[in-house]
């Protein structure tokens, strides 16, 4: 599994090819790229800065990926998250999952994104016309993550 936290942009083709290289049993690669938007909560966003918790971030992403690999039959996965200052249109996060069959790849990719949104220590600060503001966590993200593990269902 590849886990990376980096300031640089990533290359979707290169990451997907590295993920499946030499594995002719890969039938499916589901991938997700999240982008910085130019509008959030009704305000125009000029730029954003992503802060993270070095050390914990990598551990949290690896734990999320390993959890996915226990839940579904996966061949490999890649999780890359950028940090630092980004402009609208810039890619922020890449998750790609390779498996034999598409159901596992889709489910694991969405699961990883939902958990990353609620468990990995990244914070966004947006620059708007009225100044800088920290993005507030969304209850819809907690709800998305909870779909995979209803309260009280398991330890």
């Amino acid at each position: 599994m590849k886990i990376a936290v980096q300031a640089d942009a990533f290359d979707l083709n290169a990451e997907v090819e590295a993920l499946r290289s030499g594995r002719l049993d890969v039938g499916a690669v589901a991938s997700f790229v999240g982008y910085a938007r130019d509008l959030n909560d009704g305000s125009a966003v000029r730029a954003m800065t992503l802060e993270h918790y070095p050390g914990m971030t990598e551990k949290a992403l690896a734990a999320i990926g390993e959890d996915a690999a226990r839940r579904w039959t996966l061949i490999d996965a890649t999780i890359i998250h950028r940090v630092g200052r980004l402009l609208p249109g810039d890619p922020i996060v890449l998750v790609a999952v390779a498996s034999r069959h598409r159901g596992d790849a889709f489910a694991a990719c969405e699961f990883i994104m939902d958990y990353l949104k609620t468990q990995a220590p990244f914070w966004k600060k947006e620059e708007t016309a009225t100044g800088a503001r920290w993005v507030e966590a969304r209850s819809s993200d907690d709800a998305a993550a909870a779909r995979w593990h209803p309260p009280g269902s398991e330890a």
Partner: protein
């Protein structure tokens, strides 16, 4: 014992500190939070029970009853907003 405290994002800015080392005689996250709240002002406000923040101990998400050992790394931060 001593614990190393880290603050991130909005909380780092509001509290005006990114990290500190604190001599601490309690045993759990809840007791450490009580010590921090006792500083009053913005500390009491931001870390009040019911405010939305998270605590990690040695880089794992923690709960109020998570035990603390000497040299623990304790991070306090807002709910995460990456991805």
């Amino acid at each position: 014992m001593n614990v190393r405290l880290l603050y991130f994002a909005r909380l780092r800015e509001r509290l005006g500190v990114g990290e500190e080392t604190l001599a601490f005689d309690g045993a759990t996250v809840a007791e450490l939070l009580a010590v921090l709240r006792a500083r009053g002002g913005v500390w009491a406000e931001e870390l009040a029970p019911g405010r939305s923040f998270r605590v990690a101990v040695n880089q794992e998400l923690a709960t109020p009853d998570t035990p603390l050992a000497d040299a623990a790394e304790v991070a306090v931060f807002p709910p995460v907003t990456g991805g």
